[in-house]
Amino acid sequence: MKFRTAILAVGLALAFWAGPASATVTFKFAFQGDLKSLDPYSLNETFTHGVLGNVYEGLTKRGKDLKIIPGLAESWEVIEPTRWRFHLRKGVKFHDGQDFTADDVVFSADRARGPSSDVKTRLPADAKVVKVDDYTVDFILSGPNPILNAEWDTWYIMSKKWCEEHNSLTAQPQAGQQMNFAALHANGTGPFIITEHQAGVRTLFKRNPKWWGKLESNFDEVIFTTISNDATRVAALLSGDVDWADPIPLQDIPRVNASGTAKVLQGPELRTIFLGFDQYRPELRYSNIKGKNPFKDARVREAFYLAIDEKAIADKVMRGAAVPSALMISPLLFDLSKDFVRPAYDPEKAKKLLADAGYPSGFEVTMDCPNDRYVNDEAICQAVVAMLARVNVKIDLLAQPKAKYFSKVLVSGGYDTSFYLLGWTPGSFDSWNILANMYRCRDEKGVGGNNNLGNYCDPKVEELTNQVLVEGDKAKRDQLIKQAYEIGQVRDWAYVPLHQQALAWGVSNKVKVVQRPDNQILFYWFRKE
């Protein structure tokens, strides 16, 4: 009797110890930053958009090669140059069970352009969105716009009823205390459902059995954790605690590749890292020069440009995982970029230019820099500081976490900076996005060149930008873009473009992934063996 009970006990114990018998396929991934808000309109950030892109969907999406493909809209046509008609997919349901209809599209269009939305530029502000019937929507524009839906892969459709029911009619503001329901819960139409969300710690996704499409991924559940410490993140990847980790610090790439458990995918990224100047205020806020603004003088900007040895930065700080850039856009996205050459490093000329501009012994200025947003951002800033010291410009480096950094230098902080480092990916993969956001004039409220932090302003560039928007002929359009860059960059030295960084996805050997140059993590294409 005792013997049998013993066997039973051992058997039960073994059963428990063996763990769950099911074959749930779980995908665990980790990123350096947090998923701060589940509200898809509250933050215009690549990582947020990417992750939410598995839960929410737009009318159109982009495929693995970045070409535009149907999403929640099955097809569309341009009836007149100023009227686009979208035919919506039928039988699609939100995760809470409600049907997806044209009402949701109209609501989402208004919400995206509403107060405190950070994705206002996804649609033209004056476009009218009209419901034709339950599954057809018209977009009526004030002028022709060949790239209307270029950024719609990150404009996600939300449920009108759900937002109304949960008091989330406006987006969660960046700086704000209201705890918006939409920021803490997600209700999309996509292939994965968020079942748990602990901001700053982890988020749980489960497969959506009722999704309208055919799911390539074989994941049953997905777990996202934030690991801000680089070494810990790499250790987690190598020990198998996570299947995907980003970014992998450049110096750890050889080690990961040699590990046998994982490897690093280093495709090109479309993000350009650059330096910008406050060219607008009559006196710089954070400098020792009083009564005038050194950055208003193009010679000073040129001096800064020439004083920085970008090749050394690309080789040493970025360890070769960066492509020095002459323009603010990746050469992959602009055919005529080969006509532009990046001026060579020339510190002697830089000193001479500074002397000519009236600063023979240099000057002091504070530089704003994020320290957890871009690859080796703080290290790049430190290198820049050292290089500028050689031409007698003393930089006081203020490196901060991105939340603090963005709330200072962007519109919500009143563009409070004199000299800064920033990164930018054109969401539409087209130069108009660069010109409109970086080179157009703006006002205090950010109307116009919203991300033109230093407010570089030239009327001819303004005019060219507007022409680019409506020009349908590609060759002519490229010429207009080239002209705009020649004025803004070559003549005026508006920015100091540094490089396009390379992606560094650490991926477990058991997982097959799809890596797009826009660095969005769309795990509905991933599979685990």
């Binding site: 680089d230 070494a231 790499v234 250790a235 610090p249 110096q251 750890d252 050889p254 080690r255 954070y286 040895d309 050394a312 930065i313 080789d315 040493k316 700080v317 703080e378 290290a379 430190q382 290198a383 500081v385 050292a386 290089m387 010291a389 050689r390 006081d396 480096l397 203020l398 490196a399 901060q400 603090k404 200072k408 409070d416």
Partner: protein
Amino acid sequence: MSAEQGASLSLTPRRRWLSRLLDSDIAFSFWQSKLTVFAAAVALVIVLGAMLAPWIAPQNPFDLKTLCLLNSHVPPAWQKGGDLHFLLGTDDQGRDVLSTILYGSRLSLAIGIMSVAFAAVLGITLGLIAGYAGGSVDALIMRAADVQLTFPAILIALLIDGTAHALFGQYRDESATIWVLVLSVGLSFWVQYARTVRGLTFVERNKDYVLAARLIGIRPGLILVRHILPNVIGPVLVIVTINLALAIILEATLSFLGVGLSPTQPSLGTMIRIGNNFLFAGEWWIAIFPGITLAALALSVNLLGDWLRDALNPKLR
């Protein structure tokens, strides 16, 4: 009066003090313990290195003009790819590790010593006052001490540092960071001094020589400084040595957590934070050498403190 007495009386007071020190029990116990001598030697080497840094360091890592990015990630001189100019290798910005250790120790020691000095001065002063005055003054100071004692040093330091960040974040410059650190670390440690000195002052206060001084009419301040203070110094010294190691470690911890000194002015803790990112990638020299220095410094100061405590403890003699 014999010849010997005459001879000893003719020595000047300072030389008498020095020879008394060298012949004393304390000095004897010092030379007896090989470990203590070794610890003192290590500490001395580090302190001397730090003090003489501007003259003996091959490079001044705080002068950004001398940094060359092309010299970054160089391994120590005895390894393949090493360079004799950079004996212990370079970090990710081209700073020579040896030089940075020398200059960084300077900062670490300076901040450690200044904060301990600040804590000691504050603590001793308050302790003397509390012990001598008694009554409500004593009660007030001791209540303040109680409040502070509920918090570990690191919490206080983080709080002060964080508040300074929030208040002055936009306008800070690099020298301000040092003062904020001295303040944070110093304010975390004053209580031990205050309590010890207060207790000892209580005892001394009732002794005859103090009563005599008061009768004569000597001012309380003078009594405290000239008479009571020398008698309470002994235990204070012991606290100082323990404190110094803790202060150095605290500053290193704050820098490691990212709320201390910035990379343009690195201390040992900052270097370890930077080096930590490269440790697993095989560039171990950026973190390990400063780590060894920090550990050696703290260890030797602790050993000295141990010896001092044993030497000054009458019960163990």
